[in-house]
Symmetry: C2
Subunit: 201 residues, 2 copies
């Protein structure tokens, strides 16, 4: 069994959403599993002195908004830029980690549902209520999750994941690590595939 | 005859170098010419509040240095990161525009020679002497070029190109425009090809 791939992303990252729709199937073709790690770009950007693409300068913002949709079309995926963007995603990330402790497959299903709610259906996923609603639709007990979102263990788990991401050099989303090799951006998908196929290049 | 493609780049841009080795042949496959526009990222970054990839933060710098070489290998191109980087490239850009006024093909030959000197042979191309040396090797009269590098017309031409690039939304290098559609980064090559093939998507 080959070691799993690590996939770091923020639920508010458009390119993270694009890669989330491709990474598991691609990895599976090469006998790999993927470990998903939702993180918080707000903390990463504060620590590294960076900012979201749409808040850096007018030219880059305008280009990025255009490129999110075009890249989605190029990858055969639906995309609708959210009205509320960027947005805080700690509730979605905490829900993911709590669900993962109960049922890995359900956590993955939740992650896809949260990403699609935001980037396809224009649903603001920042508030706990929105996250509970998304989770309830896939069969998660609303009250248990509501309690979990406030639990110190889950808050600590997310904090640890973000701290660890910073420690290993994650500076944006999506950030994929295969056998110690880092790939930043959904546009590194062809290189990721080549790496998986050839074992390095 | 389809309208030409515009290719904006700085001679100190690693991804600009990578794209410069591919863009003409790709465009030719689809019956297109490419207009090359060397610009100065120093001015672009100052105007947009940005900075070179290797000077933004430690994690991004380390990743970028690794990715320059890996992306070159992925594209089948030689790459040796220059000891002096980033570096000013106004002399190379001015030489390009002056040569272009004399002989388009020679200007293109010079651009490839300057890029390869910097990113393959680790030659610091910032000083006028380095640019004169590169040009002399491809048959350019050294004294004529030396005079041209100081001429107000050529300085003005470069300034106009940078001003225009800013005006049309160029925020980095490489930046390609096809029929009004902008593509930023060497990693947009697959989208550029798809756009040329399908006339938009």
């Amino acid at each position: 069994m080959k070691p799993p791939i690590d996939f770091y992303f923020d639920f508010s990252s458009p390119y993270g959403y694009l890669l989330s729709e491709k990474i598991d199937a691609l990895a599976a073709q090469y006998g790999r599993k993927v470990r998903w790690h939702p993180i918080l770009l707000g903390i990463i950007f504060k620590a590294t002195g960076s900012a979201p693409l749409t808040l850096q300068n007018a030219a880059k913002a305008s280009y990025s908004l255009h490129d999110f949709s075009r890249s989605a079309r190029f990858m055969g995926l639906p995309y609708r830029h959210p009205d509320n963007f960027p947005l805080p995603t700690q509730n979605a990330a905490r829900a993911y980690y709590w669900l993962h402790g109960q049922d890995c497959a359900l956590a993955r299903q939740f992650a896809h549902a949260a990403y699609r709610a935001l980037f396809v259906d224009n649903i603001d996923i920042s508030a706990p209520e929105a996250v509970l609603e998304i989770a309830a639709k896939i069969g998660v007990d609303r009250r248990n999750l509501e309690t979990a979102l406030q639990s110190p263990e889950i808050k600590e788990r997310l904090k640890d994941e973000v701290d660890n991401a910073l420690k290993i050099g994650v500076f944006g989303s999506p950030h994929v690590i295969i056998d110690g090799e880092a790939f930043f951006g959904a546009d590194r998908l062809p290189q990721i595939e080549h790496w998986l196929k050839s074992g390095g290049f």
